[in-house]
Amino acid sequence: MKNGFRQSMAWLHTWTGLVVGWILFFVFATGNLGRFDTEIDRWMKPELRPETASLAQSVEAAQQRLQSRAANAESWTIWPATNRDYPNLRVRWEQPVTQASAEHSGRTQNQNRKRTEEYLDPETAKPVETRATGGGQLLYKMHYELHYLPRTVSDWLIGICSMFMLVAIISGIITHKKIFADFFTFRPGKGQRSWLDLHAALATIVLPFFLMMTYSGLVFLVLTLFPGNVAANYGLGDDTRTTYNDELNATPYEAERADQAAPLVNLSSLTAIAEQKWGAGQVRTIEVENPGDSNARVRVTHLLDDTSRTNQELVFDGANGALMGEFSNQSNARGFYDHLLGLHRGLFAGWVLRWLYFLSGIAGAIIIASGLVLWVVKRNPKQLKQADGPDFGHRLVEALNVGTIAGLPIAVAAYFLANRLLPLDLAGRGNWEANSFFIVWLLALLYPIVRPVGRAWIEQFWVAAAAFLLLPIVNALTTGRHLLHSLQVHDWIFAGFDLTVIVAGLLFAWIAIHLSRRAQQVPAPARRRNASHLPSAQEV
């Protein structure tokens, strides 16, 4: 029975992998870019400059702005520029909304709250004028929201694809029977065998990462995918999700609005106390509940220092500044949940670990890509021998492969190019940057209609190379912050971005050269007949 089991797992692995491979490639590509979402944000908003204001100055500027714009808000949040995730001062306020406007907006997580965010200049306490752009945040959001789709639809689509991926991973493990005999083999230059080796070797190397990301990714969507758990305990009303989240994240000293006005204490005095306790630069956020009320609460939270999504916090009475307590909210259940999701987002990661996450994500994309290519390569010998040429399904997979694997990088470059090239006063500019992404991707998907697939691969990789290498040039021409300048002033974000896209461009050029060399080595008439170097399609 063992052989049958492994074979059925192999069958399961192939088909679950194929059906969702292209969407998952998109999810991996955009999600991986999200590792550096803040850095990409900064590059896409060249008007923002690196900040040097002190914590006290930032907090005071934030309080000033929030007092003038959001005095009656339900809550405020301030992100001073203390760590990698928040390189620029940012504020947010939340206001409850009426039912009518809640139905209209429909995209916020908490259906009955409206959020507004701004970047502030700590010197002037005024919002910074930046070009309208989705930035790196939008790219990162695409990996769980897709785009153009209502949230529920995208939740289900991504949930289903991720479930397929999880099954693909487990069945892949079971199928890779020689996992410890064949653990470390990669044999280049052998056609189908090499693709399989690449697929299996990479997958083995990043297996823990892959499992963790897929599983935790699913847990992010659990409230949509398995609503029964909440419903059984909290009922079926509209706010049950909110109620559950509030209970889960309940912190002590919470209080309802007392409807008695009381001026908010000076926040920078509270952050000074926090810095005294924790050390300089350890403040992550300042949250104010019920600002301007006698039951105001101020929570100063600590930077993340482990895989959890939350850390300890100091709670102050907002009206008189008294310290009410310090605590760290962790029931075991919530702790496990927090650590799981925290691992996925990786906000705790320093530079080395962040780059490792990123490289693992690239490996993940290559694993998916090699699996998709392997599917085609394995079936090519039989398909190409057919009298009428390959089946429609086969050609469809080939076209989707080249359009996605080679086309998506072009789309990413188009998104960045659009950021620099679209006129600053264009209405809906941020949406048009995203539209450029999808328009280019669509063109790449349609390209194999007019070109033979082999040529399409090479040509699209050349376009990707050109597009990426063009980016630093376009950057230099449209803003003053070109690569040499960035290196001079030690602006590592800008320099890092420019250097990374150069490396990416060179990589795509190398791939294009490699593919065209291989195409030239095999003479054209024989190419179609000898598409595989293997004597027979081997069992996985």
């Binding site: 758990n229 305990n233 909290y234 889960l248 029931s331």
Partner: protein, 105 residues
């Protein structure tokens, strides 16, 4: 694998595959939902904690069920293996709902 089989055998094979897919995807989903609901009601923890645990573990159960459906010997066994536990859990959940005893408090 079935290239030399008669048309009838091929058709049967395809029905079996479709049946297993159905069982795995939908039957597995139902079973997982029931497991989750039961756990979230029965665990001796606060309701937010119980729901969280059920939420976090659910996908492991679902994956296990799917793998099981494709590895078990016959299609009948696959369906039975999903339906029977589902009925048992549904009964337990009904019991909990009727008696109002949740989280053992």
């Amino acid at each position: 694998m079935a290239s030399k089989a008669s048309a009838a055998e091929l058709s049967l094979y395809r029905w079996h595959v479709a049946s297993r897919v159905f069982a795995a995807v939908l039957g597995g989903y139902v079973l997982t939902s029931l497991i989750g609901i039961f756990l979230s009601l029965a665990l001796p923890l606060s309701r937010s904690d119980s729901v969280t645990i059920a939420n976090t573990l659910g996908f492991a159960f679902y994956t296990g069920a799917i793998i099981w459906v494709f590895s078990v010997a016959t299609v009948w066994r696959a369906w039975l293996g999903l339906v029977i536990p589902s009925l048992v859990l549904a009964a337990l959940i009904a019991l909990v709902a009727l008696t109002g005893v949740t989280h053992f408090d």
